[in-house]
Amino acid sequence: MKGLLYKDLLLICKQHLYILLISFLFVGAGAVGKGNAGLSIYGIYFISTVVLNLHSLEENYHWRTFVDSLPVSREDYVNEKYVLSIILMGVAMALFLLLSAVFGTFSSSWGILFLMVMVYLISVSLILSTEMIFGIQGRSYLRIVLIMAVVLLGVGALNYSGLVLEQIARIRILPAVLLCAGVGLFILSNRITVAIIKKREW
């Protein structure tokens, strides 16, 4: 799996201008956003666009056919994408913390971080499983756009309706419960995707 991860990280580095552009969106969000939730939207956007862009590239150059000649199982192939999304989530969180500190918008409640991770995990679970099972090009692309729209609208609604996200974060046990739900969905999404991809012919 380390070879697959190395290749994806190499490709992300090759697209540094594109990544910088997305990061500027982060900065913009920090400047004009309303609290932590404003930044979290761009965190999801950051992970989604990088993952979707990588996957779209892979479909264009038929990477799956090459992977099937390598000493890598299909389970490894799927798992690598999930591991990559966790790494990207870490990067997004680090950027979030950095920008929150810079703009002085960081909430004293740690609950908000749990909630952010939950929202990231749910988004990544939906996006990864959909793009890997249905593909990203053609009509399938519409599905991705729809999922992204739903996720962004959902988080956006939370953000702009009086920072509800931060209110939820103040309820003690709830963020931890929601985080567990996010992790559960992430694992479920991974197992379903592995099961389906293992049966595919290409």
């Binding site: 070879g3 190395y6 697209q15 056919t65 090459f66 000649s69 890598v72």
Partner: protein, 278 residues
């Protein structure tokens, strides 16, 4: 031991059907699969690699009966398919670095011999290379981990005659080790004729013939006779027939003709496919 074995493989794809394919290749030999576009060559190779599951029958590869998701087996196989599947924005040397992290037996020197040694610029992105150089990189990827079996699908089609000749020499060199085998599919029959020990003809999903090349070439001759004279040959001695305005071209069993020209594998395939179509 056989390097590979197909046992009664059947696969349906809409209106296409690969029908009851049974074929084997002893270790140390090169098998050439000849067939027109859409004959089922790529499907047969995908089944061998476990990318496609057969509806019936089974395959065995280097003694393993389940090639699908078999990581250890893939360490021992090098493949070049029509769609290379390599990232176009990675430089050639970076592709080598990726493979280094994939294969336990990756050999940088071999990768460089098949890329740098064949005038491929290591610092150029793969997507910017010519078709021939892209193929050289794919071949380097297949060779770089010291495989026991090479599976090449139309690998020579993008190469110029000199590069094709070099590749075929490399394949012959590869099979000097008697544990090494090659499966080569192509519609450039002259390439297969030069390198292969065994030839298999696939036509519209059916295996028409699988035989040692030398046996095939010894068994048949090509003759040109008048249309009337052609009628005098027994039908079971005729392998193929083509009527032209100037007479009839026949491929017949050597014992049925007093004299005749040596037959080429291309002739054999074309005559046999025509006979099948008729």
């Amino acid at each position: 031991m056989n390097a590979l074995e197909y046992r009664h493989i059947t696969k349906h794809y809409g209106s296409f059907c690969l029908e009851d394919l049974s074929l084997q290749l002893p270790q140390g030999m090169i098998l050439g699969i000849v067939g027109e576009n859409g004959a089922g060559k790529t499907t047969a190779l995908k089944i061998l690699l476990g990318r496609v599951l057969p509806d019936e029958g089974e395959v065995s590869l280097l003694g393993e009966s389940n090639p699908r998701d078999n990581k250890l087996l893939r360490e021992r196989i090098g493949t070049v398919m029509e769609e290379a599947g390599l990232p176009p924005i990675l430089k050639v040397k970076e592709i080598g670095n990726v493979l280094k992290r994939m294969y336990q037996t990756y050999d940088e020197e071999v990768f460089r011999r098949f890329t740098e040694g064949k005038h491929v610029d290591m610092d150029r992105p793969y997507g910017e290379l010519s078709k021939g150089n892209k193929m050289k990189v794919s071949i380097a990827c297949a060779m770089s981990h010291h495989p026991d079996l090479l599976i090449f699908d139309e690998a020579t089609s993008g190469l110029d005659p000199l590069a094709r000749d070099e590749l075929l020499d490399d394949l012959l060199d590869f099979t000097r080790d008697e544990t090494h085998s090659v499966v080569l599919s192509s519609h450039i029959v002259s390439d297969l004729e030069k390198a292969c020990d065994y030839i298999a003809f696939l036509h519209e999903g059916k295996l028409l013939l699988a035989e040692e090349k030398d046996v095939l070439k010894e068994q048949y001759v090509r003759i040109h006779v008048s249309n009337e004279a052609a009628e005098s040959y027994k039908s079971d001695s005729i392998f193929g027939k083509r009527i032209t305005p100037y007479g009839t071209d026949l491929i017949v069993r050597r014992e049925a003709a007093d004299e005749g020209e040596p037959v080429s594998i291309e002739d054999l395939f074309i005559f046999m496919a025509r006979k099948e179509n008729a």
